[in-house]
Amino acid sequence: MKNEAAHPSFCFLSGMLRRRLRTPDGGPLGILADLKAALSERYPEVQSIVVAAGRNRLEIPATSANVASLAGGSGIMQDFEGTPVTLGASQFLVRETLLDRQVVDVHGAKVVRVNDVQLLCHGGRLHVVHVDIGLPGLARRLGFEKGIRSLASLMRKKPKDELVSWKYVQPLNETGAGPVRISLRQEQIRMLHPGELADIIEELDPEERLALVRSIDAAQVAEAIEETDGSVQAAIIRDLDSELAADILEEMEPAAAVDVVEMLSEETQQSIMAAMEEDEREQIEILSRAEEDTAATVMTLDFLSIPEDSTAGGALALVREKADQVEFIHYLYCLDPSGRLSGVVSLRNLILAGNGEPISSLMHSRLTTVHPDDPLEDLADAFLKFRFQALPVVDEEGVLEGVVTFQHSFDELLPFYGRASG
């Protein structure tokens, strides 16, 4: 038995579950019901063996002697002093948390179901190393793995083992002993493309979604949510507490955020809006008052504006200061003292100009503008005709209300571009 412990060997959880455990002198202990593992290491180490005797569940320590027995296929426990099962903050029950559950395979960016768990026995210690999501794992649980393998060899094929390394597994179970959270996996999640994360979020059920959404930061959630289906967006935001929901909405494109907010019930809307920052709330309110299919619905309030009496140097300083918050920085909008739009200056012109040059001499003052109530079709026509990157939206008095950028309005305007060219 000492030898077995010395050589690393793999074994499956399904092979251990329900095994009858005995003391060295043959006294019955019960059946193996679960394994308790700790998340402190890269691969969780099994710390104790949960034994069920009738209705009682006790845990006995996973000492090297016990581990060697288990890995060698025996049920004789050398150390069998049982204590009631307790679960610490970074501990989890392997069977209960993983088996038959859905987990996120971060590597393949998909949601999978765990058919079995593979453990590595090495140096008297047992580690969770893989989850088995393939057909052989399913067959093993059903007791006909051999049948599948011989059938496959008859067809001169090897059955495809699908083992996902624990490195790439994000357990989502939020029930029971609290969420299983590990920094490593969060790094993995952080590396996902928003579209991939969106796919994963769509596949999860509400509880798991919340668990995942709560564990990653608002900006990344916002990016991913924008890629999901409308009803999924509303479902996620609806179930979050208002503070977090507000944080996520603030990170979203205002136009997209409005679409989500409008799908919520009045009560939810109000509590989320109350939790939002002043600026973002204002944006959403303006956008949500917009008539449907008008310029106001696709405009953003995320743009740079400067007083017309400032200088190129002042303007560049403003660009440097705001560039990480404001996405569209190609044009700066120049305002007269009463907030009316008097001209536009491009970033290129600013860079080429001397620091002291007054803005009023750099800016273009013959402007193409749109009105908030202009239909989308007119907007599309204007973009096609003038090839601007953005169009300012001004009201009857000439006050600047917002900006429609070509890039952000693209999806909404696409149907009209098609029509115009055809």
Binding site: R113, N115, D205, P206
Partner: protein, 417 residues
């Protein structure tokens, strides 16, 4: 604040919400009246007159209770039924149940293609033409993503079922007699009667319906606040099924049964519509049967593939390609192809296929019902939305009675053979 007062959207929005929530119940109900349903109800009326009409009341009640439970589970947990079964009962039980469900649903798919073949025959089209064309059509409709728009056409064509209540009105049967048949159970211990009763139960409360409805509700992300509307959707669906089914039985009882006609072919069943449209009855019936079969043939293989993939954790969905979701596409294609081929076997007794697939539905129902009852009463999943005590008593009693009927059915078979 965004408030309803500032914009004239309040009422529109409420109607929109209603329409958004409505759907799963009504669609499930209309697919329920498929080829197997039309055949079974017609045979019940033709063979036993009004003798089985009483069963529609308990069956409708149970249908509504069962569908309400899965609907509630879908809204509360946001998960599908097979997902919940797998996580709660482990892989062995799930595998067994999924195997039975696959067989049963395959029987139903076969029945839909038998329905298409039978309807085609009335129009003078050979099954060798109609079945392959329709199988290909269904496969393309769903995999090319055009199904959602065609679904509305199917739903509108379901207006055909109105022909049965209208036919009953034209016949003008003695109201007192019909009313009495509804409320006075008339039990006949013969094997034929028991099998027919099980067929009616199985076609009205088919096991695929529970999986389908819970999955569609979960996919819609209906919030708990709108649950009232969703329940209304389910109850309305149940009544529609029952109204149509009862009308079919009554219409057949006063035409086929009085004339001593047994339903051997679809053309026989069509005679129940003669009082309404005379000679055009067979055409009208063929149209209805065709629509019902095609509608169900689009949904059943899809729902079955989704259910199995969900249970075993395979990628699924028509928006994925074959490479990503091979199990899903193989299952889906095999169900349609095999279902169509079986319906084409020369000398296939189409009406018998349609009927017996429904009896098998009835045999599986109590099994599925037990799973549902255990899950819906699990407070870890359902919180405060578990069943009430009265609800449970009725459902467990129904499950027990269904088991008894199933056993009775099997025993009478064994005796008979």
């Amino acid at each position: 604040m965004i408030s309803a007062g500032s914009r004239p959207r309040g009422l529109l929005r409420r109607i929109g919400l209603f329409l958004a929530v409505m759907g799963p119940g009504i669609i499930t109900a209309n697919v329920d009246n498929d080829a197997g349903g039309l055949t079974t109800y017609s045979q019940a009326g033709a063979n036993f007159g009004l003798g089985l009409l009483w069963i529609m009341i308990p069956v409708t009640l149970l249908l509504i209770l069962v569908q309400e439970m899965v609907n509630r589970m879908g809204v509360v947990t946001g998960r599908g039924l097979s997902d919940m079964i797998r996580e709660r009962f482990g892989v062995r039980l799930t595998f067994g149940l999924m195997f039975l469900l696959l067989l049963t649903n395959f029987g139903n798919v076969m029945a839909e293609f038998a329905g298409i073949a039978a309807a085609g025959q009335i129009f003078g089209l050979p099954p060798l033409l109609t079945v392959p064309v329709c199988a290909t059509l269904v496969w393309l409709l769903v995999t090319r993503g055009t199904y959602r728009s065609v679904e509305k056409v199917f739903l509108v064509a379901c207006i055909f079922y109105v022909a049965y209540p209208l036919s009953v009105l034209m016949i003008a049967p003695p109201a007192a007699g019909v009313a009495a048949a509804f409320v006075r159970p008339e039990f006949d211990p013969s094997a034929g009667y028991i099998v027919m009763a099980l067929g009616i139960v199985g076609t009205t409360i088919a096991p695929w319906m529970q999986f389908y409805q819970q999955a569609s509700v979960a996919e819609k992300n209906i919030s708990l606040k709108d649950y009232g509307l969703s329940r209304l959707d389910t109850v309305a669906g149940g009544f529609v099924v029952s109204l149509v089914a009862s009308s079919i039985i009554i219409a057949c009882a006063f035409t086929l049964h009085l004339q001593g006609v047994r339903v051997e072919t679809a053309a026989d069943a069509a005679r129940a519509l003669q009082p309404l449209v005379g000679r055009a009855s067979s055409w009208l019936f063929a149209f209805g049967l065709f629509n019902a079969s095609l509608f169900a043939a689009s949904i059943l293989p899809l729902s079955t593939s989704y259910t199995l993939c969900e249970a075993f954790g395979w990628e699924s969905g028509i928006n994925k390609d074959f490479e990503t979701a091979p199990h899903f596409y193989i299952l889906y294609t095999a169900l349609i192809a095999l279902g169509a081929v079986t319906a084409l076997i020369p000398g296939m007794p189409l009406v018998k296929v349609m009927f017996w697939s429904q009896v098998i539905n009835g045999l599986l129902l109590p099994v599925v019902l037990v799973f549902i009852l255990l899950l819906v009463n699990d407070s870890r999943e359902m919180g405060s939305h578990v069943n009430g005590r009265f609800y449970n008593i009725v459902c467990w009693a129904a499950a027990a009675i269904l088991v008894l009927i199933s056993c009775g059915c099997v025993v009478s078979w064994l005796r008979g053979s």
